[in-house]
Symmetry: C2
């Protein structure tokens, strides 16, 4: 296959410098190398966050070359073009989605508005949906105690992660539930706890024909029919205008999303909005949007030391392309963020798990890493053994907060729970970097596990908005620098196609021999 032409990621002059520098990466485990001064010098601030990266294997030279890389690849100007509404979701010369990428317009009504005509138009439409939502919720308040969100992928992971993160701020008397998997046991478990009469069902599908979501919607509608309740008085659609779901006779209300909102970037749109405003209150939803918007502004800063998502993207590229680390563990020391890593797994891996550049050439460098993780301190009692002493090196990003959400804490053995939580985070960051020598080989830790620490005061709706957009933009920046399309997902099509062929065999619309491999596997199940 043809290779990328000159001018791409690998042809920058920064790339060659970084390749050289990576031959002797900074040795964090060498005594005296990781110092308090280094930690202080290698800390950047923006918005509510501090990003401490002294525990990465970088030097000032490495940082300067990374900044050059950002500049040579035009990272910030591409971010500006994205927020203005340029067509970035495309592969030149081939059939592709050919769309703008405008999730930032969903929250662009807190000052410093984008002036590009597509962005301005998208903002007006988004604001109108927000106002529609406010009116709708005040009209139905009192009628519904519960909300079930039916969606999958981006219509589930991001919204669910954010709701779980902000349960401490939830509206009194309101409960939210989720059905995503086509596994019927998922729906059964949720439905058994509900009073259907007091429940609103929000169905989310941009196209209006996502098979899992349609199936689950049908399953829940049947429950309403059996209970002699009219689904059209309970069901709300979040979908594209003109989709098969955009039908007032079937829904109490419809809220719109657009083709320039990718599923994994949709949490601030009505996809997350209807549920979050119901469950947390409209004002908390607005605070969340304002937080995201403020990070959108930070992502437009030219100086990478002030542009935190760009800085994080660069550190990630150093670990991925130069230190050759295939995976990234994201570890929030916050139980509230228990599902946030699952959202980031989608956001990063679906965006940047790509093998061609924007001109359709095969890349010959590594793109998006495998992203995984669980909250600390739980992870410490689980997979940290491998991170400290396994045969592979894993890059890590820690996230922490200095204050609790609920304000319910307890001093035990001289420190509070929150202090214990944050002390563990800091201790792990240091331990992974410096390691430990010992005569007992089982007590040896080789260190040099590169990691960074992102800190804020408290995980409230505003900070959650910041955090969401921080990662959205980190991922987009990496895609910009790799010159790949972070906004399509052709890789999910083949599986869908083959699943349809198997289902055609099952329901008798196709003969067994039309897809012998599928039939062979089906036979195993007899």
């Amino acid at each position: 296959m043809s290779q990328s032409p000159t001018g791409s990621f690998q042809q920058t002059s920064a790339y060659k410098k970084l390749e050289d520098l990576a031959k002797t990466p900074f040795d964090l485990a060498q005594e005296g190398n990781l110092t308090a001064d280094r930690i202080n010098a290698m800390t950047a601030h923006a918005g509510p966050f501090k990003l401490s990266f002294g525990t990465e294997r970088v030097t000032e030279d490495v940082m300067n070359s990374l900044f050059e890389l950002a500049s040579e690849t035009g990272a910030v100007s591409k971010m500006q073009r994205m927020q203005m509404g340029d067509i970035l979701n495309q592969i030149e010369g081939y059939e592709s989605e050919n769309r703008a990428v405008l999730h930032t317009a969903m929250r662009d009504f807190f000052g410093n508005q984008q002036t590009g005509p597509r962005a301005a138009q998208a903002m007006v439409l988004a604001k109108a949906e927000c106002e529609k939502l406010k009116t709708f919720l005040s009209k139905v308040d009192g009628r519904f105690t519960d909300l079930v969100l039916v969606g999958i992928g981006g219509s589930d992971l991001g919204p669910r992660a954010i709701y779980m993160a902000l349960q401490a701020y939830k509206k009194k008397g309101k409960r939210v539930h989720f059905i995503s998997n086509v596994d019927p046991d998922d729906a059964a478990l949720v439905l058994e706890t509900l009073n259907l009469d007091k429940t609103m069902v929000v169905v989310v599908s941009k196209s209006g024909n996502t098979l899992e979501t349609q199936t689950n919607e049908e399953l829940v509608r049947e429950r309403y029919n059996k209970a002699h309740l009219k689904p059209e008085n309970h069901f709300v659609a979040v979908t594209g205008k003109g989709s098969p779901m955009d039908n007032p006779s079937n829904y109490l209300a419809s809220f719109y999303i657009w083709d320039y909102i990718g599923g994994r970037y949709s949490a601030t749109s009505m996809v997350g909005g209807v549920m979050l405003a119901f469950g947390l209150g409209f004002d908390n939803y607005m605070e969340f949007l304002r937080g995201a918007h403020d990070m959108d502004q930070i992502a437009l800063q030219d100086d990478p030391k002030k542009n935190l998502p760009l800085l994080a993207a660069l550190l990630g590229i150093w670990n991925r392309n130069f230190l050759k680390l295939p995976t990234l563990a994201i570890i929030p020391y916050s139980q509230a963020l228990v599902r946030f890593t699952a959202h980031l797994q989608q956001c990063d891996m679906e965006s940047n798990g790509k093998h061609i550049d924007k001109s359709g050439h095969e890349v010959d460098f590594h793109t998006g890493p495998i992203v995984w993780g669980e909250p600390g301190t739980n992870g410490q009692h689980s997979f940290y053994q491998l991170i400290h002493q396994g045969t592979d090196t894993i890059a890590l990003e820690f996230i922490g907060f200095t204050e609790t959400q609920y304000g319910q804490d307890l001093k035990f053995k001289g420190t509070t729970c929150q202090e214990k939580l944050i002390a563990n985070l800091l201790a792990q960051s240091i331990a992974l970097a410096i390691g430990q020598k010992s005569d007992n080989p089982n007590k040896r830790f080789c260190g040099n596990r590169p990691n960074s620490v992102l800190l804020a005061k408290r995980l409230d709706p505003y900070v959650m908005g910041n955090l969401l957009a921080y990662y959205e933009h980190k991922v987009a920046f990496q895609g910009f620098m790799w010159n790949i399309n972070s906004f399509d997902q052709e890789g999910v099509q083949l599986g869908k196609l083959l699943a349809t062929k198997i289902l055609d065999v099952i329901n008798g619309q196709a003969k067994q021999d039309s897809f012998t491999l599928g039939s062979a596997l089906l036979n195993l199940m007899m």
Copy 2:
């Protein structure tokens, strides 16, 4: 550092053969190579399971060499020794735990009992705890509607994953909750929903001094005191005999575990038992144990084609050590198994994330992989993009069932939800193997993503027991073949030590300059 001597994993004659064979692994993407015949031939059966591995990059030669590897490394005889109670948890010549490994004794009362004196003794003790539990639960039935399990790591992940998997079988009127993280918001969220008077609190810590668990226990006790309820009438201890928690004046009852039960292997002991028997009923707990026991028997089979966990271990070693794949995605097509991957992450990574062999020599091959995953079909709408089209190859293990748990299903567009679920699993297995050619580079899939499919009829308590033990033994077999100690976790100590140093600075017991790195990071938070 000194290297492993001859006789180890790499010095087997099978290793050299496999190294040669790995130069030209079977090409699944070559048209005509993956056939229905291959799928049928490469399927093994044992207990309730079928394991289909035609979609792995193996040939008959590879399989025969893997079987030789198992034989040369004495895998099955080590499993036999483990189940008999030999001291396997040790590093020869160095200070180490020096213990037997007897989680199989926790369920060894369904026939074919082990005769080794340690195993026989452990079984008698375990059975006595089961009987004590049965009596205790019948005595307090009616008094408690809710149970909170307080534990972390192995005292949380396995039990929680199993409870979530079997909620379809839960006892009417009983609810179970979990507190694990030292994050005080974790406890706050759980406690706000409870009637403390009707709640039993089960605290699990083998040593009786796990900091997170002690802290959370204290936090919950304080709630009881504030509510003028006596904690000692509500709290139950699961701990080692003679631990600080083994104190009848503080607990309604104590149930015992022993030093030969590692946390990550403790789900079938009282660690999982008290909660599972309360939440699912004692009979379902027994069915779960019987399932695990039956898999223990299968793991003693000499023939790897009948010994499913050994077969899975061998396929994993092929992918890890010969095809050099650093990560393993475990994807259950079952929402009930939503937390099972988190348990397996601990079970595998804490067991086999090791850098020395059992004689204390550094290994120079890769040990345990990074294990991650989320349930399908959700994952398809998330990270599958990278699995299909990213620049890294990921090994996968699929788990699926042909029938639902709740029996509540719906035909939609000609097929049921369960049929859609399983069709998607099978389609992904094939798509990942064969890939797709296309003139549009964005629609190209290179295939050769090795994967296997584990199938059973329905996820009931018996099958869940089988599944748990299947993975416990898969992990143990890999450790046996690599000649590492899968049963200790020295790698978690360094972080604990440094956390204590930081906490001493916070509570004023040590000066800032006693640990300048920790202090520098703490300063960031001001």
